[in-house]
Amino acid sequence: GAGVSQTPSNKVTEKGKYVELRCDPISGHTALYWYRQSLGQGPEFLIYFQGTGAADDSGLPNDRFFAVRPEGSVSTLKIQRTERGDSAVYLCASSRDPSGANVLTFGAGSRLTVL
């Protein structure tokens, strides 16, 4: 597509529930990134995919967070047993490849609110 698409744009859930957030990157972009932006802060790196594999998941805060990209295109970020502290905007970005010269294009984000 023309840009990075993220769904849902807003998600409200209750503490303890399971949540999935979807990212559809720009067609042909092999690198895909997830970031989390808490209120009043800059985005923080969560995980990066090169193709289908997670090349670096060092930013995932704990084992309740998991992400997949089974066909090397669409990615899903999965959060189990949500907690109020998980409330944030989750941003997805893609780039043509992971080299430093390539710019990341960001989606508008999925705002997650855990009550």
């Binding site: 990134y33 090169q50 670096d56 930013g59 430093g100 390539n102 960001f106």
Partner: protein, 115 residues
């Protein structure tokens, strides 16, 4: 390791006056540096990037930034602010040795433009 410090969390200017948003970085290797802008409820948009070519970088909407290695700074400037410039601005560093091109964001500077 890489890090970014944005020295001002809020900057207020009058329309038509100059804008200065300050950024200092830390990087173990040759950095790539970026400025992104985030308008409310919209995705992050790239303003400009530095990747070891000319130290004075021109971006979109009249913004520019100068890379100063001796000062480890990458301040963003614009000669004359417009009302539409009001937004959150993020200074971002990527270590060029960083194979995955993961970005490290500063905490952001909220620019307010008064009529």
């Amino acid at each position: 390791a890489q890090s970014v410090t944005q020295l001002d969390s809020h900057v207020s200017v009058s329309e038509g006056t100059p804008v200065l948003l300050r950024c200092n970085y830390s990087s173990s290797y040759s950095p790539s540096l970026f400025w992104y802008v985030q308008h409310p409820n919209k995705g992050l948009q790239l303003l400009l990037k530095y990747t070891s070519a000319a130290t004075l970088v021109k971006g979109i909407n009249g913004f520019e930034a100068e890379f100063k290695k001796s000062e480890t700074s990458f301040h963003l400037t614009k000669p004359s602010a417009h009302m539409s410039d009001a937004a959150e601005y993020f200074c971002v560093v990527s270590d060029q040795q960083n194979a995955g091109n993961m970005l490290t964001f500063g905490g952001g500077t909220r620019l307010m433009v008064k009529p």
